[in-house]
Amino acid sequence: MNRFYLDVHALQTVPPSNLNRDDTGSPKSSVYGGVPRARVSSQAWKKATRDYFKSESLLDPSELGVRTKKVVEVLADRIHERDETIDEADALELAAEVIAATGLKIEVPKRKSSAKKSAAEGEGDEETQDALPQAKYLVFLSARQLDGLARFAVEGAADIAGFLKDKENKARVKQIADTRHSVDIALFGRMVADATDFNVDAAVQVAHAISVHRVDNESDYYTAVDDRNKDSEPGAGMIGTVDFNSATLYRYAALGVHQLAANLGEGLREEESEATPVRRAAEAFVQGFVESLPTGKINTFGHHTLPDAVVVKLRTTRPISFVAAFEEPVRGDLGGHMSEACARLAEYIPDVERAYGDEGSTLTWVLRVGPNTRKLAGIGTESRNIGELVASVGQAVAERLEKPE
């Protein structure tokens, strides 16, 4: 397998906002280069990227995973959909058997509040509803995996226990649960705590975003009037504070394309080229990571922005973060932080590539907005818009994958 990485770097300015807060309600922060910085955690941006896949339908929903404990129910629904002669109760039993055979631990959850509720309502119906077996942990099974399991269950529906005793079938059910991972899981990994042979190591590495400059959190003191107060009751109806900051963030993520290919397994559809799912996943990753935004307090601050500058690299050597270009904090006293941040990158990238990269095999693309980013113009192939960037990255990924070793 050809080994190669896709690095995505973005500079993005966010106005006063609180994208990602800690337990005191303040925006998350860190220290770098000896000064405080704004920080947005990697998990916050990963979640935003995954949500963006769904909300923008970047990928067919059938290729995205759902994270749930209720895998038995979900699978039972699929079984019932596939073969309507299997009634719902039988489907549930089938599903429980099949899920157990994959190695996932399932249990019937203890009822707490629902016990009270059904006692109050005096209904036995609730009870059967509540007593459905669940996985002990949150599980991701891609739509494709669920389809595979449903097909398997229908096949062995006549005598599922006997069917599962067969060694070959036993191996098969494990294999279905372990291959054809949805694109989402292949990119970002999966959390299953007990059936470890399903675990997928994420192909994407996302760094915490940090500001390129010094940032101190600020506090907005607000008052709100009670409209129904009379003149005799002057004063605010309520007062409070909201912490916020504004920052120009350096964002970085790397995708091990070879690892993604291994996670995805063979082509998802038989008529497709083997490279197709990898290409589509890489495209979705680039677009999703660039365009997504954590939604923390977004209705308070309306911080909808997009990166001013994006640099994407496809390389055969190691992934390289350019964060060290901002270890010395950007001062920004001459016309904002973006212009100086771009100048820093424009100087740093060729330097670090010369020292550690492989200039012959590395491809570089740039997408940039506004005069502040002009210094980055020469750093790689310019794309006119995000669509063009994503398409050319996808094409290069497919070409590299198909190239004989």
Binding site: Y32, Y252, E328
Partner: protein, 242 residues
């Protein structure tokens, strides 16, 4: 025998040795399991391949604290994918703004292979946690025939420019070295970060010896200042008058 030295620097690092469940702490310096894990990832050793791991875990390990950094606490919430119900809150600790030199000593051929793997890794390197990529390439180089301690003592000071500037009044700086004990050293502590298995089912670690030493390295940024400092010798004046 040779020594491979690494520069571990980035905005965030996190080196847990006893972290479990919802409170994920970090040691104040890289752990052996963390650094061996980084090398194993680069070399493409799969989780659960304990035999391949054993060769790497057999390397002797040490680390030098070039810039200690500060501790950052990260508070993490998670929600159920379907119902939106809250999952257990977790705390993660990071070292921000720290720089370390880590070193592994062992057979030259193995170190040469690891050095090459770091330049074209199978799985990308990270500083203790996936979300902490290194700020610059990590490998510094291979020292043939050096001892672990000597290699860590000889490596130039790797602290960031801003940090060195803060110490420009000092011609040399003394740095803490935490490394595995030699046979003769009796003052060792123990730390449970000797990796036995990274298998997803059961990670296992054994105890390992750690001795704390200090090495003194020159401060390259101090040299200029020293040269221009006026010579101050009060007795010179007396001699002239005699």
């Amino acid at each position: 025998m040779s020594v491979l030295t690494l520069r571990l620097a980035g905005p965030l690092q996190s080196w847990g040795s006893s972290a479990r469940f919802t409170r994920r702490t970090t040691e104040s310096a890289p752990t052996k399991s963390g650094v061996v894990g980084l090398l194993a990832a680069a070399a493409g050793i799969e989780r659960g391949d304990d035999a391949a791991l054993a060769a790497l875990a057999g390397l002797r390990f040490g680390v030098r604290i070039d810039q200690p950094g500060s501790r950052v606490r990260d508070f993490q919430t998670a929600h159920h994918g379907d119902t939106g119900a809250s999952m257990p809150l977790s705390e993660r600790f990071y070292l921000a703004d720290a720089v370390f030199v880590a070193a592994v000593a062992g057979e030259t051929g193995l170190l040469t292979r690891l050095h090459a793997a770091l330049r074209a890794p199978v799985y990308p390197p990270f500083l203790g946690r996936r979300s902490c990529p290194p700020a610059q390439p990590v490998e510094l180089g291979i020292r043939d025939g050096a001892s672990l301690h000597q290699a860590l003592a000889d490596e130039p000071w790797q602290a960031a420019a801003w940090y060195r500037r803060r110490h420009r009044g000092e011609a040399t700086v003394s740095l803490t070295v935490l490394r595995e004990a030699d046979e003769k050293e009796a003052d060792a502590d123990y730390q449970r970060d000797q990796p036995l298995s990274f298998s997803a089912e059961q990670r296992r670690h054994a105890l390992r010896t750690v001795v704390s030493r200090t090495v003194t390295v020159p401060n390259p940024d101090a040299a200029l200042r020293q040269a221009v400092r006026p010579r101050h010798e009060p007795f010179d004046a007396l001699e002239e008058s005699v």
